[in-house]
Symmetry: C2
Subunit: 306 residues, 2 copies
């Protein structure tokens, strides 16, 4: 699956991914109104609103971007109706030719990780038939439980040609609380990075591994050190824009081949119409604002790395 | 919510929790057959089968046990229909007066953890109304992202009288890969434990905190050390039985008040009828086998700790 992602990135000359993390407060009034008229102020109404919101953004940007990263928490907060919108979003994005990175940060003991891997990346057996539950292309994975919590994902990646991104150094302010702790003089995130390389060797694409990692844009020095430690690992980079990461800081996340990283922006794209820079589009034309924000982000990143 | 859990444990004299982690292979043929006749060999059929299986076990054991711990991965593997069965199971167990610990091991950056906390423990706002998405009583939480990934759960616990169990030392064989790494001579899980105590102080019940932790039964020496480090933290203990933890080894997980820990068994209870010790019940009477396994487990644990 990493091959397909790289092909899309190269074709569209856009090392970016749009985070489809809809808060109801991002959804323009006209969409909320229509959804609530049909379903009431209910979970179903909220779920319809975020789905229509997503669809507008996907339609307006899918020719420009290689991938989307829906954050499942934003759907899970609306219970079952929210998760139905998550699934609709995944399916629609795949129909539009986009690579879908499910941002779920799952991870558990072996047998349980197998269930997550099956549900999100693989197929579950029911009697004599098999079904894909959510069918994303990639999933983000939490490494705290160690190899036997990650290996089931790697196995399914091999079986189904899928991929994962394992959390190494996250973008949030307290990520250092545990991740930066020194073990024999080296931070924990480096130990995790070494394991990611090991897991990744079992699941290689043509030039990069199907086992990628997550390193926040907010820690560029660490990104630089980690890039060297894991040359064949694709880096999913959250934290650009709204969280404070800059394009200039992202340069060391990329390899000399111009590949090796894909930068996420969520709020910065999907709620672009709320920013001064794009307010001229107006709330009704939120999707056009998102399109312009995508164009600007691609230019910003490409200027910095080329 | 920890008060309610302790009250239930004391009333039933049973420091145990039944892990409702149904694999389709655990579900007796007559239940599968009926579900597939109605819904076909589909995700809906599988979801119906695990729901009916759960219901049988809950009906047969709810007078004996204080709590259940459905593992959401086992439902998520069947996609949306599976999650509908998860929600049905949560609701049914609450109707039966049981405390429900959602084993979801969620955790993310702050705004995303808020969405998970709202979805599983709190209420989400839609227009002028609020709704509970999944509405468990407790949720398990992964600490790898640090305080700002955990605090949103603590906030919701305070607001809604709910609780969490934070992973400290998990039961699986590779848990030591990162969790046991020494930082200034002390293992990472101890640093996490110290933070759990800190988070817990912000969310106290009468005698214990609403912020508990997870420590596997498979590491009794570590359990002993951690018990001393976190006297007011309730310990959720997976790994008893099928994973190899013994009742004798669990003694140090409890405080002198006879409280402080709740021991989980999943397979050992829900698939009891498949074990030699309970095969006399037969597949048709799987729920009676589960009831007997619960009785035996309570006796085993109480003998060891009293």
């Amino acid at each position: 699956m990493i091959n397909e992602l790289i092909q899309q990135i190269t074709k569209k000359d856009a090392p970016i991914v749009v985070g489809l993390d809809p808060m109801l407060s991002y959804v323009p009034q006209h969409i909320q109104k229509k959804a609530f008229e049909e379903f009431g102020e209910t979970l179903e109404g909220a779920a319809e609103a975020i789905w229509q919101f997503n669809k507008g953004i996907v339609d307006a940007t899918c020719d420009l971007i290689p991938a989307v990263k829906p954050q499942i928490a934003m759907y899970e907060q609306f219970g079952i109706p929210g998760l139905i919108s998550f699934k609709k979003t995944v399916d629609y994005c795949k129909e539009k030719g986009l690579v879908v990175i499910g941002d779920a940060k799952r991870g558990d003991i072996g047998s349980t990780s197998t269930a997550y891997a099956v549900g999100h990346l693989g197929k579950v057996t029911v009697g004599n038939k098999t079904y894909a539950g959510f069918d994303e292309d990639f999933l983000t994975v939490n490494p705290y439980l160690g190899s036997d919590g990650v290996n089931p994902f790697v196995d399914i990646c091999n079986k189904e040609n899928k991929g994962i991104f394992v959390l190494v150094k996250t973008s949030n302010p307290s990520s250092g609380e545990f991740q930066d702790q020194l073990i024999d003089g080296r931070p924990l995130y480096e130990l995790v990075a070494e394991k990611v390389v090991e897991w990744g060797e079992q699941c290689m694409g043509d030039t990069y591994s199907n086992v990628g990692c997550v390193i926040g844009a907010t820690y560029p020095e660490m990104g630089k050190a980690l890039r060297k430690l894991m040359p064949k690992t694709y880096i999913l980079v959250p934290g650009y824009g709204a969280q404070g990461g800059t394009a200039e800081g992202l340069k060391p996340y990329f390899n000399a081949d111009g590949l090796g990283a894909i930068v996420n922006s969520s709020r910065g794209i999907i709620a672009a119409y709320k920013q001064d820079a794009y307010s001229r589009f107006g709330e009704e034309n939120y999707a056009d604002a998102s399109r312009q924000a995508v164009i600007d982000m691609i230019a910003d990143i490409n200027n910095a790395i080329k």
